[in-house]
Symmetry: C2
Amino acid sequence: MTSRKLISIDGMGGDNAPGVVIDGLAAFASSHPAFGFILHGDEQRLRPLVEAHAGLPARVEFRHTDKTIAMDEKPSQALRPKGRNSSMWNAVEAVRAHEAVAAVSAGNTGALMAISKLALRTVEGLHRPALVGSWPTRSGVAAVLDLGADITADATQLVEFAIMGVAFARAVHHKPRPSVALLNIGSEDLKGHDAVREAARLLRAADLDLDFRGFVEGADISEGAVDVVVTDGFTGNVALKTAEGVAKMVTDLLREALTSSTRGKLGAAIAMPALRSFRDRLDPRRVNGAVFLGLNGVVVKSHGGADAVGFRHAIEVAADMGESRFSAEISAQLARLKTEELPFPDAPVNEETAK
Amino acid sequence: MTSRKLISIDGMGGDNAPGVVIDGLAAFASSHPAFGFILHGDEQRLRPLVEAHAGLPARVEFRHTDKTIAMDEKPSQALRPKGRNSSMWNAVEAVRAHEAVAAVSAGNTGALMAISKLALRTVEGLHRPALVGSWPTRSGVAAVLDLGADITADATQLVEFAIMGVAFARAVHHKPRPSVALLNIGSEDLKGHDAVREAARLLRAADLDLDFRGFVEGADISEGAVDVVVTDGFTGNVALKTAEGVAKMVTDLLREALTSSTRGKLGAAIAMPALRSFRDRLDPRRVNGAVFLGLNGVVVKSHGGADAVGFRHAIEVAADMGESRFSAEISAQLARLKTEELPFPDAPVNEETAK
């Protein structure tokens, strides 16, 4: 197993753990023979689930712990002694110890973020990590960040988000040269916050290897106008949840309309292949797996309610990130940025948060 | 005509003016006999369009001007001498002069906002106007503000937005006691900006006549969790445009799926009544008409691309606002708020913007 790249899995995180976790793991493993797994959690519960999949036990190393972090636990509690040695903590710790190339958990987002920041720390030269997610668009998928690792972002941080988002889109969305833009509002006389305008100036002025396209508006995200959309964590989180809410409302209303009459049901039955392809295009499972970017190690957050298909996709994101040149690309871009930062003495450098 | 309430109409604003404007006006007029209209623009073009509708000419007073404001004109240009006496300017001016109870324009948003602020000024005691819009929800409609009158909002302004949004929902959505919440993000350890948290504290502490429900997340807007959602103009604008983009993408993908095969087309034809009712639930025309709240007079902004049905709805919003106790309600709530502001010396009071 030593020749295999290992992925560290929180076996106990998520609404439907551990069953869904192991089913997703088995599905991923069967199509990715080059990977092995470190599985954290209650071995008595996990082992029989793993053994139900032929060939899987030989690729799984169990790390028993009976501690778990509840979905509603406060992040601060997760960092206390009782959170240490939990399945989530240990999953991240295996990345810190360089045993695994990436960790995946469907557990408590706030706790996972807090543990990841503490264990892995922010990459030297970056001010802050960011949470990036994949967003279904008309033409495929876009990366959007920050989705809520923090609530504000200054110009320098937005520039760093752009760099990280592009590296993510290359690694996970397999786009050779992702385009990137800053999320802004469209009204003529209001061209956004100072931070957004200054970030645009920096991205244009800096000698970065980026296809920077300026500003986009909210409607451009789904339109697929660019591959990477950059914003602060408050706006990004609101935009993501608003979009999820609208998509859910629209598809629910469609279902209600089609099932509320015999004619509707008949038409839907006949059009079922078309309706299925429509549903598949919007399937949130195929974009499951958000990543905490900017830490010294890869941590992927699966949706807590993901099923096996969704969890498998989150592991794929982890594998793609783990196999990518993500860290090297970030370092190279940051080195280019540093030389460009000098003319802008107002760019905040906070030693507290830079570590 | 003196006994009729008058609505002031910019006959030349919008992508399809003046044809769509007059068709929308005629549709509104036929079902609202109590209203008359002041119509601003090129009388030679407008008069024959009005005369094509039986009974309408007697209810329309023409105010000729050959000046118009282009859709792509900068707001600052609209305020210069060349913008004065434009159809948009004159439409707002008739409200300032108390000739009309409200003005409606489908023209340039930034110009309309700039003209309205200059001509009508902010209500005494309010810090800032806000742009409010109607948002389709699962159960009906919600009011969301600010949609971009400004890009930031402090705690006091968010409280004022809550007061205005509730008065709007009562006047236009005909809800007797609208519930209101602040838009926030859901992550456990990040409970939003200081402004949002302080606004929540103020709304709980103040002796206001409000059904305040605390925080909602982006997904709760479409869910119809509350009747009024309050946020700053940057976040509100991004959320609105993101939602519009998602709704358009989803319905476009559905159309593509249903028209890409014979079976899909056949099924859709059979299910057409259901698909129509689905489409009607999401029809953006039935929520057309955003209002600049907090000015000494009612100005309604119709979507620039609205058709006659949409423009008619924007006039209905103007009529509802014009007939409502909106101003009296705002004044009463502000009076209650003033006495509550005293314990919070950090609440900003800016004499410059308060006028």
